[in-house]
Symmetry: D3
Subunit: 261 residues, 6 copies
């Protein structure tokens, strides 16, 4: 029987890894390492649905939840990705409750929602092997995460979080910094204050809050501060740093050789 | 000379197969088996234009018409797929004549329509080998199928079907059932009545009507009822059923072994 | 943690499915349906290592063992596929103990065998997460299946099966029939006698014996006859049959229409 | 160090080649031949972001600027392609200053623009190696080209060109012809007059003007007329013509043989 | 019904095109243009079986015979490609009758030959739709072309050509030139003499002879000289030449501009 | 003009990175970081020629030399990869001078060598743009690296290195350890002694020697010891380590939370 969805509950606090290297081996490794979540990023990666599915399979085979960030705030992505059997979807730049509501409805079949019905053939139901069960549980085993990362979103944080079907709010420091006039300064005190404000207002609704590591706010602090889902890792960032360190080390070795001559 | 478009006329009654397995071998087999139409489904499959083209070629090489269902009701898909040389396009969730009109216009070059012109280089004209001929016949050799599968669409069925450039109406039982409040019950009497009503109203316009097999409405009944294009097959459903039967049979064999010991 | 290799033991009697449709959705479905083994066929499919890996992942995620049949009897395939983390490898046209020995050695690291060492980075060890464990268990969790399907192989069956590292023998009826002068007649009495003889001689060594369904020898008979691993299914055959039946049915419907006019 | 972006300035007059054959070897050849620009066309080619990136790399490795024409006038494409490190983007069917403004804003990070921030990990910054430098120069090393190819666009040409962030205007003769009621007649005198008018009005803003070869307006004339960036080549057109000539020649040879018998 | 194999006979004299651009659009165009044969080259292209199949389909859909040149003189390629439904195979560097015999046997099922049997599921038989017919005709509808392009091959030309199952001999001028000590001088008189000698000796066996265009020996001369199958075109060569001419023309235009200032 | 081959000389001492993540973004990053060489590994990666070429392009665009390790010691790989324009090839398990000689000959065109000629169309010559220049310099701009990693190879090290056309010798510690009876113990004193002996014997021939980092022999020591080309990095190893550290850190954070309650 399928090894997917063995542990369907989403438990917190939890850690995740950002995945921007579109090679299933990396996705599988991220899952196998022990992260509970992998965020497969379509917004800032040159990929679309057909490249995402092998990543989703690899993350799930590795043992983590596969969350896909869609490239844009459009409902059409939701049904296609849910049909593919992702464990969750993250949507960037959600600015108000109306947008959040439209997205949430796209996760639900008619008549309550707007999702198109093909439960009998898609991967989400094991290609029809588990259709009845899927129609029962599909929404409980899926997490819709909306990103708040603009001034408008900040001001509407509580209303956005309160929308039924919004399962988690992710605070995006970089775009929030830009929106507040502090481009590339996510550590700016106004940005930090904004993050705290969003956090507080989302928490009023009881919904879990998520964010990612940043220079001055490491995973430990974020968990201590009460964040429920912390993206502590980023495959591309980690790999790039490691490569740069190794090259720097090599350059010192060669300079040492030259110097000693 | 190219083996495409030998028999360009669309004749009815006809049968088609739903294609959700994105492997050109399957697409070619579907065509070679004798189906007249293959519906390559982008709405509930994790694919985009680059994965669809090999499927289109394989269906056409197999000898069937390649109809592509687009993932969403947006005109931008129309021109891209027509350039690729598909034989037809199916659009989901068409709710009224205005939507149908916009889609129909997207199939036609300016000034009458809104399709962008690149007839000299695209596959549809054999990469420019048959540009003049293509500009003459392109619309006659192409079929725009709109799906009616919501309450609103049902109420506007005649107006939708009457739109010039709408070549066929497909009635989608599953989503129609959901829209009418009977999720996953396409056999519900209200759904059946709705299908009959849509059928009748489309037929007033003289346009062909299409649908697919469902539990209680097999291909024979649908053809007898007057449907012009019946999708009797579904690759994923058929394969899944056959595999499940074989596994069930295997389990009986093993139980027999155990029992007989 | 990774969901692979949860149940690492190979138990018999067991059933498998032949996979010639190179679409991971199908591979995943085959596993999820309940087959214990999936035979991913490279010998008669237009694929190589990069297309095989997504199939292997999908089979394993579905919950079955992924056995890959290599395109030719060459040791170089063995190490590459083992590095990829397949559960087993089937090799066609093994004719004698010397060939079997060379293949068996290719499954084992030096100094006993000839397999190249990269256990620290390959998928088989979860990309280095489980290197030590992998070096301990890699051979126990892997099955080398050799095909006997020629007259020479038939005459050497016992010696081939007795080679240490040969974990299972698969009897290939079609090629055996050809080799014995009865092309395309796997039901010929000489072929059936040859199969019985190979079966008996392999069984002397205590090794499991495998084969696939054929017209007159269905899964039940094969299991009753003592075969340990029976490939009862074939995705392409099943799909093709189902499509042909549906088309035949459609043709009857249309003829009925014509006849009744 | 990376060989990209060595010569970041866009100089004129310059020549480009239209790329509709989606094989990186062709893209690399186009660059290596000496064209300064390659226009990778997504509007009339069956491709999306994942197939475009290998083309972009190949063009840049060949030594040309990689400009991508997006399939539709939607801002979401802009950020994704800029993240991929393209040298420019061309947008079809821009009709007025409001549309041009929205596109231009999509090229700029907040707070001035609407582009999402991921400069630390994307290809555009060499995966974070050159983030600071990229944030400094990203806009100077990038060219936004809008297409004017409708009557409405023609009438708004000066206003469109004047939009800050519009770096170049491309006049599309084929669609302009259609829009003016002269489908497939880009040589029609009204179309030629329209092109002259657009040209003149764009030039008032000082922005460079681009177009492509057409039957009666070859590269020499276009450069003489003052066009800054002329697309003189088209891979598909050139290849198709060469193949057709060769086949025609072959047919003459055979007819000669027949005739001489 | 499948559009393949409509005209299964190989007729001469005939023309072909060499295909080194691995984009099915180009392959389809080559067929559609009117070439009777397309040579899909694996020897000097970075491709393997999975990239070749879409090319084969495209060539056949275009209306030409798809001949694949294998990367090396190894029998294992033969069965895999025949299973894929190619119309012919070309093998490089065949030096003597023994090599030719081994290759020819690999095209034939046991017991006469060594090809493995999977006729019931492979593309060659339309995935089992036409198995019986395929087993009847498979060899007649397939052409094995061996290349003679070494001194040893030259000396054994008649014996190679006489091997049953060798259906055509292709003389490779470039490698023959190298082998005779005149690298990159296929026009050298010794090379020309060698070609004539091979031609004459092959003709003694009645087998058709093939070659490709070279500077001083154009298609007309080759056909006049009696060659049966002339590869007059080469997609990469033609495209490269056309691009280079256009760039050269552009450079003249710019120099004219500069000169006139 | 093409940005490849700007600096064609191979200079030492130099550093390289092992590439087992088959995603061109990673390959490009490796080059851009400052490594002089990237070793794209086919031996222990599930890839073949068509997946390797995008990696080669990405490495070269990043600014490093692209060396490809072939999956097995077979000459057929050499020509295909050289045609693709790789900067070098590494061959595993070279055991004696005869094997090295055969490989070296495969890098050279006839009559001196055995490489097939297609210089006019392949990537190596910029698809024919630089054919004459390529025929002049192709061998100087290419590096053949043979691996010594068996007892037999060790004993023949000087003879192997002395073969003309062998440009560099790579000592493989892992397989050498296995071959000497110390599987997975590359630090064993006998293995270290063997490495020193091979190093010394190769150096007698004046050829550069290469190896990779190992636990107790870091890049600094290897350079100090006189190795010319040191592979200090490995993308998969580095990424895996970084991910594991982050997960371990996360687990501590959670345990701290639990402990503090
Ligand atoms: Mg953001
Ligand atoms: Mg629907
Ligand atoms: Mg066999
Ligand atoms: Mg246009
Ligand atoms: Mg040759
Ligand atoms: Mg090794």
């Amino acid at each position: 029987a399928s090894k997917r969805a063995v542990e369907s509950q989403f438990t917190f606090p939890a850690f995740g890894c950002w995945v921007n290297i579109f090679e299933p081996a990396v996705a599988e490794l991220v899952g196998a390492c022990g992260y509970q979540y992998a965020l497969i990023d379509m917004e800032h990666s040159p990929v679309t649905v057909d490249s995402v599915l092998p990543m989703v399979r690899a993350v799930q085979l590795g043992g983590a939840k596969a969350i896909v960030r869609v490239p844009e705030k459009q409902s059409a992505w939701i049904g296609r990705l849910m049909d593919m059997g992702v464990d969750g979807i993250m949507v960037p730049m959600v600015n108000n409750a109306a947008e959040a509501t439209e997205l949430a409805q796209a996760t639900i079949y008619a008549p309550e929602g707007t999702r198109g019905m093909a439960a009998g053939i898609v991967r989400a139901s094991n290609y029809g092997l588990n259709t009845a069960e899927y129609l029962q549980n599909y929404r409980d085993n899926f997490m819709l995460i909306v990103q708040i990362e603009t001034r408008e979103g900040m001001e509407q944080a509580e209303q956005i979080a309160a929308v039924p079907g919004v399962d988690c709010v992710f605070i995006g420091p970089s775009d929030l910094a830009g929106s507040l006039g502090h481009r590339a300064q996510p550590e700016h005190k106004e940005v930090r204050a904004a993050i705290r404000q969003i956090y507080k207002n989302v928490k009023k609704t009881g919904k879990p809050v998520s964010t990612l590591n940043f220079t001055s706010r490491n995973a430990k602090q974020l968990i201590t501060d009460g964040f429920d889902l912390v993206f502590s890792g980023s495959d591309m960032t980690m790999l790039s740093k490691a490569l740069q360190q190794d090259v720097a080390n090599n350059q010192k070795i060669v300079q040492g050789l030259v110097g000693s001559k």
